[in-house]
């Protein structure tokens, strides 16, 4: 036995027995982004026997602030490949499987069936519900982590008789709950949440301590308050026969945004559709923009020219997510103003002669 895991083996409450369980275990990590990076680094360093990495995304320069494994030289490369290379150098004694594709209804059951535990380190609702449903079908526990701004959530679902993700959030929101691309995230926060996910995965595998099952951990990193909310299991969510053929709602990779600077330069190329209320619109709006409040959009689609790209705007790029879903199928190209009009006003200004 080599000394690599000496400090695990000599750790009271862990020891040889738990280390052997780690080395005999397999974990599939879905997503190699802000959450996946710390999860993969720690599980690999700690000696999990077989690690699967699922991600088809490539490294973007905007990932670097919160995914510190990636370097500037990695921009444009496949994340799963870059991570796998790092993990091989970090630990040559365990196995790595690389899947440079997204988890889909077609491949989820086959991939997940080959692992003991799944870590949901994805960045979109569609994948989260897919991971849940596949894990319920296959009887696999999964470690959930999610972020919003300065906040994070962690729990372990489908563990023994515990609740599933659908016991907490039964239905998928239709896109209004913004994802990590349209909203900001403080670089270190996914590191904190991902590390907690790695810890929970270790507890699930080794049986040490208490698994965060039946409890949602909520962290507000600004006030540094931690809340634990109890989640009850609902029998109807524990039995799923088959995956849905489609998991709706686009994730980070599908949302298209336009920066305020670009819109200010080329506003005439777009139908600038302001989905705020009439009162908000009257107070200030981008010159030449069309106002249809979000609540009325469904019924007033015919007012939106279908042959021109649409740029949706609202105050903080929250309502535009819902509006984009409504416009699907009506307009071929739909964009959202990055950060909303608040961002536009701070970047471009509110010059009344230009924009009113």
């Amino acid at each position: 036995m080599n000394d690599r895991y000496l400090r695990h083996r000599t750790l009271s409450g862990f020891g040889d027995e738990a280390q052997q369980k780690l080395e005999a275990a397999s974990v599939l990590v879905v997503g190699a982004g802000g959450l996946g990076v710390p999860v993969l680094q720690y599980l690999n360093a700690m000696g999990v026997g077989r690690i699967g990495i699922v991600d088809a995304d490539t490294v973007s320069v905007t990932n670097l602030h919160r995914q510190p494994l990636y370097t500037e030289a990695d921009v444009g490369k496949e994340k799963a490949m870059v991570v796998a290379n790092f993990l091989k150098q970090q630990n040559s004694e365990n196995q790595k499987e690389v899947y440079t594709r997204y988890l889909t209804s077609e491949n989820a059951l086959e991939l997940i069936s080959q692992y003991d535990v799944v870590v949901d380190a994805s960045d979109n609702f569609a994948t989260r519900y897919l991971v849940n449903d596949a894990c319920v079908i296959l009887g696999k526990p999964f470690v959930y982590g999610g972020l919003f701004g300065f906040e994070g959530q962690v729990s372990v679902f489908n563990f023994e008789d515990g609740p599933t993700y659908r016991c907490l959030y039964p239905e998928m929101s239709d896109g209004v709950v913004a994802d990590c691309n349209t909203h900001g995230v403080l670089g270190v926060v996914p590191g904190i949440i991902g590390n907690l996910q790695a810890l929970e995965a270790v507890k699930v595998i080794t049986g040490i301590g208490g698994v965060l099952s039946g409890t949602l951990l909520l962290i507000d990193t600004l006030s540094m308050q931690v809340f634990k909310m109890r989640v009850s299991a609902k029998e109807e969510n524990k039995t799923i026969d088959a995956l849905k053929t489609r998991y709706e709602t686009p994730g980070c990779r599908n949302s298209q945004t336009i920066s305020p600077e670009v819109l200010a330069e080329a506003a005439e190329d777009y139908v600038v559709l302001d989905v705020r209320t009439e009162t908000e619109f009257t107070a200030w709006h981008i010159k030449g923009s069309l106002n249809i409040p979000l609540e009325e959009l469904k019924d007033r689609l015919d007012e939106v020219a279908g042959n021109k790209p649409v740029c949706l705007v609202c105050k903080q790029a929250v309502r535009t997510r819902s509006a984009a879903v409504i416009l699907e199928g009506h307009s071929s190209e739909v964009y959202e103003l990055e950060g909303g009009l608040d961002n536009y006003q701070s970047k471009v200004g509110t010059d009344e002669t230009d924009f009113k």
Binding site: A121, S122, D123, N124, R128, E151, Y169, M172, S173, V318
Partner: protein, 80 residues
């Protein structure tokens, strides 16, 4: 109950980290709280699985809310 804790996108929609209700507005159960909030902040409607926790337990619509209870509004989060 005097201060409802807000998480995730509900903070942006409501515009603060907590929401104060006057005593006259106190709802008697979760369903009444939802109705009150949706009238005041229609954008919350788009969150399909907006959860309410009462005293650190995720609650159902029929869960009774007493004036001394701790109430939190918890939406799903997708970021990663």
């Amino acid at each position: 109950m005097s201060e409802i804790l807000l998480f995730g996108v509900t903070r942006e929609i409501i515009g603060s980290a907590t929401l104060k209700l006057s005593e006259a507005e106190y709802p008697k159960n979760v369903e009444e709280l939802r109705e009150l909030l949706l009238v005041r902040y229609p954008e919350l409607k788009a969150i399909a699985s907006l959860k309410v926790a009462v005293n650190n337990d995720f609650a159902e619509d029929h869960t009774v809310i007493r004036p001394t209870d701790e109430v939190a509004l918890i939406p799903p989060v997708s970021g990663g």
